[in-house]
C-alpha cells in the first residue's frame, strides 16, 4: 500500500508544533507540498523537511519514526486514515480527532485524544495526563471513539467525557473520570485516589480494588449483561474483560453524591 514515511532526523531543541502531520492534509499533497508544510519550532515557522525525511506522497497512511517526545499536535482533528508512530510522541496526540486510527509503539504525552469525537487511538507504552479529557473550561471531554493505553496513565483520565471508551492497561493516577458525564473507563490495573470524583453519569470498571471517595455508596453486586457485549468489543482491541459468573462478580458503587450524580463504579471480585 502507498504510504508516507516521516523520519525525524534529530530531536528538536524546543517544542515542535506539527498539527500538519494529518492524513486529511497529506492525502492530497505531493511529496514537495508535504516537505514544505509549515511547522512551528518554538516561535519560528519552519518546513517539515527541516526536521523530517519525507518519503511518499498522497496517502492517508502515515508512518513516523524517531523520538517525537517534543513533537505536539500530531493527528490533530484528523477524520480518516492511519498514523503509526515508532517511538515516543508529544502532547495532544489525536486531540479533537473525528475518525481514523493512531497507533503508537512507545509512550505518549498529555492530552491524548483530548475532546476527541470518533476514531481509535492505541498507545502501547504509557500515556501522560488528561487522556481523553476536556481542555480547561470546556464542558465536554471525549465525546466518542476509543482510546487504549497498554501502560500507565497520569491524572484526570477521561475528565468530563461524555461518550466513548478508555482502557488503561496499567495503573492510572488521581481523578480518573473526574466530572464524567457518560461513557466507559476500564482500569485493568486500578488507580490511585479520587476515582470517579464528581461523576454525573457513566461507568468506571476496575479489575483491581480501588480507594473510593466517601461520596460513593455500595449498591449490590452483579454481573451486568451489557458487559459481555463490551467484552466482545474489547476483545477485538486485545483487552480481556471478565464477565462470566463462574469467574467472579462486580461490586457496584453509585455516586458521586456530592454532585449528586448517577454514575457507577464496578469493581471486579474474582471468585475464590
Amino acid at each position: 500500500m502507498n504510504k508516507i514515511k516521516l523520519t525525524l532526523r534529530e530531536k528538536p531543541v524546543v517544542v515542535l508544533e506539527a498539527e500538519v502531520i494529518s492524513p486529511d492534509l497529506f492525502v492530497e499533497q505531493s511529496n514537495e507540498e508535504i516537505r514544505a508544510s509549515v511547522v512551528y519550532h518554538g516561535k519560528r515557522q519552519k518546513r517539515i523537511d527541516d526536521f523530517f525525511d519525507v518519503e511518499g506522497e498522497r496517502s492517508d497512511c502515515i508512518e513516523i519514526h524517531g523520538d517525537l517526545n517534543r513533537v505536539r499536535h500530531v493527528g490533530r482533528a484528523m477524520t480518516r486514515g492511519e498514523v503509526t508512530i515508532h517511538g515516543d510522541v508529544g502532547m495532544h496526540l489525536g486531540a479533537l480527532m473525528k475518525g481514523g486510527t493512531i497507533e503508537v509503539h512507545g509512550n505518549a504525552g498529555d492530552w491524548v485524544g483530548g475532546e476527541m469525537k470518533k476514531g481509535k487511538i492505541h498507545i502501547h507504552g504509557d500515556a501522560g495526563q488528561q487522556v481523553g479529557a476536556a481542555y480547561r473550561g470546556s464542558i465536554l471531554g471525549m465525546q466518542g471513539g476509543t482510546i487504549v493505553v497498554d501502560g500507565n496513565a497520569g491524572i484526570e483520565v477521561g475528565m468530563r467525557m461524555r461518550r466513548g471508551i478508555i482502557v488503561i492497561g496499567g495503573t492510572a493516577r488521581d481523578f480518573v473520570g473526574l466530572q464524567m458525564k457518560g461513557g466507559t473507563i476500564l482500569l485493568c490495573g486500578g488507580a490511585e485516589i479520587r476515582t470517579g470524583a464528581w461523576m454525573q453519569r457513566g461507568t468506571i470498571i476496575s479489575l483491581k480494588e480501588l480507594a473510593l471517595m466517601p461520596t460513593f455508596a455500595e449498591s449490590g453486586a452483579y454481573n451486568p449483561t451489557f458487559l459481555n457485549v463490551y467484552s466482545q468489543h474489547l476483545q477485538a482491541l486485545g483487552v480481556q474483560l471478565p464477565y462470566a459468573e463462574a469467574d467472579g462478580r462486580y461490586r457496584r458503587y453509585s455516586g458521586d453524591r456530592g454532585v449528586p450524580g448517577k454514575g457507577e463504579i464496578l469493581i471486579w471480585e474474582p471468585a475464590v
Binding site: V13, D110, P214, T215, G258
Partner: protein, 315 residues
Amino acid sequence: MTCTLGEVKNRADFIVYWGGNPAECHPRHFTKYALMPKSQFLPRGRKDRTMVLVDIRETKSVKASDVFLQVRPGKDFELITVLRAMIKDQPISEAQIAETGLSVEQLQDFVARMKAARFGVFFFGMGLSMTRGKHMNSAALLTLAAEMNAFTKFVAMPMRGHGNVTGADVIMRWQTGYPFGISFNRGYPRYNPGEFSTVDVLVRGDTDCAFIIGADPGATMPKPAIEHLKRVPTIVLDPHVTHTSKMARVHITTAPAGISAPGTAYRMDEIPLPLRPALESPYPSDEEVVRRIKETILKKPDWMGERPQMLTTQV
C-alpha cells in the same frame, strides 16, 4: 464567587479559613478585614462573627477560632465533596465521614452553621491549593461556595502569597484573556496550564532561554526546573541577589517596585492599590529595562515571517 475584603469586613458573619494559618501568615487579615472590625451590619465586631478553621494540624490560628475542624491530611477534597453532598441532604454513612478525620456531629454542626449564616466566606490557603489535587481542591471549595448560594450568601477567596501575583493575573487576563500558563509562540495567546505553565515548561526543558522578572524560581521550583535554568541562558531582573540571580547568565539590578518604582499593585481581592515611590533608586525600573530590551529587539530582522492578520480557527 468572590467579593472584596471590604464586603467581608462589613458583612461576613461566618468566616472559614481553610488550609491556612492566618494568625502567622496574614496577621493583619484578622484585624483589618475578617474578624475584628465592627461595622454597621456587625456592630459588635468579633462577637457578631463565627470563625471556623479547617486545617490538618493545630496552628496558632486555632486560638482565634470558634470551631476547629482537624481534617486528615490529604482529605480536603473528600471533605468538601462530603459537604457538598450534605448540604443537599444526600445520605453519607458515618464510616465514610470518619474517613475525613471528622465526626458526623461535627459536620452536621458545620453545615447547620453555614446555612444559618447571613453572609459566609471561605478563605483558602496554600494548605488547600498546593497539596495533592491542587487546582481541584480550590475548585471544590469554589463549587461549595456557589452551591451554598441556594441557601444564603456565600463567597470564596484565595489567600494569595507574597508579591503582586494578583496583579500579574489581572493584567494577563485583560491583555490575553487568560490568567497564566500562556504561550505566544503562534503570535496570539494560547492557554494550557500543565503545558505552558512555567514550572512544567522548565521541568520538561522545553525552552532555550529564560527571562525572569521579580521572582525567585531558583528557591522554590523542583530540581529539574532549576537544572534547566542553569543550562539555558537565564536573564534575571531583580533588585536583590537571589538564588536565581546567582545561577543566571545575566542579572540586571532594578529599582524595587513599590518602593522606588511607581506602579499599581492588586490586592488579593483584585482591588488596585496605586503605589507611590518613597525612595529614589539609582537603578532603572523593570518597566524601563523591558522597554529598552524590546526596542533593541525591534531593530533585529523580523523573524515572524508571513502570517495572516487574523485566524478564525486556532490551534
